[in-house]
């Protein structure tokens, strides 16, 4: 289902307009439902059980509470995922996020709920409890046969634990993962995802991997290592932080008090108005320095930079209209190594959406000045002014949407370069007759031109057309999706070749029996420019066979990928595959040891690369491994009533 919807959504032009809707705080997917606590009814429980239902056949899923991944602490039975916090939550607003990814597609849903100021009796708010949740995972393997296998013996371990003391409205906890790996690239010991938390009532101080959420113009999501202080009182929340400006890992503390290089400082204040917090106001400020370049999860060519940024955002629903407005200001030096001084500039946006019966309208306007930048959001493109409008309607079995957008750069009217103007429009038609495949057809048209072109500048003059068709069909035991996209980029400047691209995807997810799942997928992408055609293919297959329910399972995955160019500059193929037979033996071991899981597995893997391009090379590796995987739960709870 999700696939056709994503294809349709992608056509709007309008990045801007669709982005406005995507930024709404509540995202709805009928296949993922929060059962409790409800968003509209504040929870009287300080440790509310979070229950999420996911449609049968979908899954598995990740569960995040206030940005913290609690999946490993949750239980899942059939369609229901349940999680109850070990310690009382602070009064105020909390966010639940569920990410589901499977062969049917990717879905991401987020809700907020509110915990009341007064704790419910017997809810752990006043009693003293000592708890631990998590476990120790160990895996060891031995290569029985193989060629070009570097490590004959493998071993990995992971201690994932949350332990703490809670009572009288206060809590102290420590959580994290400590991994150990005998083979493979990277560090052998990797601590990660750790957080030391001290909480009293609605206030908390966290040291470790924290997530700060400011405004879209300052820091929409800043997940870094450092300190985060949260104070939540009287319908207002205050946050202050000091974190590393770049992603760090291992034992790096992130924060440094003697040196402000690669440090970010800042905070945010939030409050809400009207019933059900229909209107939320957020103000955020942060400043800091970054040494630029790449980090362990980021490849970048950014220079060392420093700056400060502030933003004020209003979001909510008024008179049936969803709106989000924000203003931002920054003083930013994108390169501290040169003589250029920091630039001061601003940014502003307004996004509005409203439904009139079956018709919904939305509009978005945004201006980001050429000198505007947030030291916490280096991925953002600046020097843009954009306007987007879109309309969508449901007409029985059909749905129709259209969008239009206009944007330009060079807002400062720099005479040394042109003003590039982008105009785009698109339309989408969806048909979903019951019992028949659903069809989505979409078309997108964009024009890129240059105004005020200075002498010597190549300018811009191109037309882009994209046509997309998607067909999907679902039955109780299988889902199939076929989509195709054709794009033409016609650069009308002299001597500049046109580019055409085409992509095709076919994916199937089938579960003919409860214990059998397989998902083949095919993808092809073709690009033609300057008389050279490039083709990239990917065929992939995943398979799971439950030979003996909850005992013996065979799982396999494999793929074939190839790249070819008509000018012989590229011609390579790659085969990969792994088949694993898993025997769950923890029930057999139950009389000797209480294990959460024990798996004896035999796996075979194969990898082959053959490059017949200008620098030909070939390699092949295969191996047969016998592994033992153990999971020892470390759950404990001791509680004493006052």
């Amino acid at each position: 289902m999700g696939r056709a919807r994503r294809v349709a959504a992608s056509l709007g032009a309008l990045a801007l307009a669709s982005g406005a809707l995507a930024a709404a705080p509540q995202v709805v997917d009928p296949e993922i439902v929060l059962l409790s606590p409800r968003s509209t009814e504040p929870s009287a429980a300080r440790r509310p059980t979070i229950r999420v239902a996911i449609r049968s056949g979908r899954g598995p899923a990740l569960l995040l509470l206030d940005g913290v991944d609690v999946t490993t602490l949750a239980t899942r039975e059939g369609e229901l995922i349940a999680y109850r916090p070990d310690a009382a939550l602070s009064p105020g607003s909390h966010r639940v996020k569920v990410v589901v990814a499977d062969p049917e597609g990717r879905s991401e849903v987020e809700w907020t709920f509110t915990v009341l100021q007064r704790a419910a009796a017997g809810d752990g708010g006043d009693s003293l409890s000592v708890y631990s949740r998590g476990g120790l995972s160990l895996s060891g393997g031995r290569v029985l046969a193989g060629e070009d296998v570097k490590d004959r013996t493998t071993g990995t371990g992971n201690l994932g634990l949350t332990a703490g003391v809670a009572g009288g409205g206060a809590e102290a906890s420590l959580s994290g993962n400590l991994g150990w790996f005998s083979t493979g690239p990277g560090p052998k010991v990797t601590p990660g995802g750790f957080a030391a938390t001290v909480r009293r009532g609605q206030d908390s101080l966290v040291f470790g991997d924290v997530a700060f959420q400011g405004t879209t113009f300052t820091a929409p999501m800043l997940a870094r290592r450092g300190l985060l202080l949260t104070i939540d009182h009287l319908n207002a929340s205050l946050q202050a932080f000091q974190v590393a400006s770049r992603s760090v890992r291992g034992l790096d503390a992130g924060v440094r008090f003697s040196d402000d290089a690669d440090q970010l400082y800042g905070g945010a204040a939030r409050t809400s108005f009207f019933e059900n917090k229909r209107l939320q106001v957020t103000a955020a400020f942060l400043q800091g320095r970054s040494s630029g370049g790449s980090s362990f999860n980021t490849g970048a060519i950014d220079q060392p930079s420093q700056g400060r940024v502030a933003g004020l955002q209003v979001a909510g629903t008024l008179l049936g209209t969803s709106l989000q407005a924000e203003g931002g200001w920054s003083e930013h030096d994108p390169d501290t190594l040169d003589t250029t001084r920091a630039a001061k500039d601003g940014a502003a946006s307004l996004r509005i959406a409203r439904a009139f019966g079956p018709v919904s309208l939305s509009g978005a306007w945004e201006r980001i000045g050429p000198g505007y930048a947030s030291i916490a959001s280096p991925s953002v493109t600046r020097d843009r002014q954009q306007l987007g409008l879109s309309a969508a309607a449901s007409l029985g079995l059909a749905s129709l949407s259209a969008s239009f957008g206009r944007g330009n750069d060079n807002l400062g009217k720099d005479p040394s370069r042109p003003v590039v103007v982008n105009k785009s429009g698109g339309a989408t038609l969806g048909l979903s007759p019951p019992g028949w495949p659903s069809l989505t057809l979409a078309w997108f048209h964009g024009i890129l031109t240059a105004e005020s072109v200075p002498d010597g500048s190549p300018g811009a003059d191109s037309v882009t057309d994209t046509a997309t068709g998607a067909l999907s069909f679902s039955r109780a035991s299988w889902t199939a999706s076929l989509s195709s996209s054709l794009s033409w980029l016609d650069d009308r400047r002299p001597q500049v070749p046109a580019t055409t691209t085409a992509s095709y995807q076919l994916s199937v997810s089938a579960r003919p029996w409860a214990s059998v799942t397989f998902a083949p997928a095919l993808a092809r992408a073709e690009t033609r420019s300057s008389g050279v055609a490039r083709t990239a293919d990917l065929a992939a297959l995943s398979l799971s066979l439950g030979l003996v329910p909850r005992a013996l399972t065979v799982t396999g995955q494999g793929s074939f990928a190839s790249n070819r160019a008509s000018d012989a500059s590229s011609r390579a193929e790659q085969w990969n595959g792994v088949v694993r037979a898993s025997w769950e033996i923890h029930r057999l071991l139950a009389r000797w040891a209480s294990l959460g899981n024990a798996i004896l597995a035999a796996s075979g893997r194969y990898g082959r690369v053959r490059d017949r391009g200008p620098q030909p090379q070939a390699s092949e590796v295969w191996g047969v491994l016998l592994t033992l995987d153990l999971f020892v739960p470390l759950d404990a709870r001791w509680e004493a009533s006052p």
Binding site: T72, R76, G193, T298, R550, R605
Partner: protein
């Protein structure tokens, strides 16, 4: 900031996995410093920044066996042109993304299907850019699959 949009004419294939982490490829040399000063919307497509994240916002995560795990790439680019990329786990391509990027912007690419988590151990996820040639040193991020089952009910 969501001035950008998910442009998933991409989509793709599913699956794959392995614990056969191959040797780490030596990262290519960094491109010479490049100053961004606006006007990034014209010219051929050039990728300037690629950040890889898991749903927790970080470049590392630990999940249960058979848990649904996805990843996201934030790509800042300039210019216009075709972009072709593949997600690869432990060197095995698992998903292909193809789209026409225009008017220098920021792309958000999400994996459309679950990453392989059936084998305990550490796995490396990379986004391989086939077109255009990356001017930056692309990184890989890692996730740890524990031996604990994500679904006691036996859901695959």
């Amino acid at each position: 900031m969501k001035t950008t949009a998910l442009r998933p004419l991409a989509v793709a294939a599913a699956l794959a996995a392995s614990g056969c982490a191959g040797p780490a490829a030596a990262p290519p040399p960094e491109a010479p410093p490049h100053r961004i000063s606006g006007g990034a919307s014209a010219g051929p497509l050039q990728v300037e920044r690629v950040e890889l994240l898991f749903p927790n916002g970080r470049g590392e995560i630990a999940v249960r066996r058979n848990a649904g795990l996805t990843a996201r790439a934030l790509i800042r680019f300039r210019g216009s042109g075709p972009l072709l990329a593949r997600w690869a786990v432990d060197g095995m391509p698992v998903e292909q993304v193809s789209l026409l990027a225009t008017f220098g912007d920021t792309l958000t690419l999400d994996t459309s299907t679950a990453l392989p988590t059936f084998e305990p151990g550490r796995h490396r996820l990379a986004l391989e850019l086939l077109q255009p040639i990356a001017r930056v040193s692309l990184r890989s991020i890692s996730y740890v699959v524990t031996a604990e089952e994500a679904d006691p009910g036996g859901r695959p």
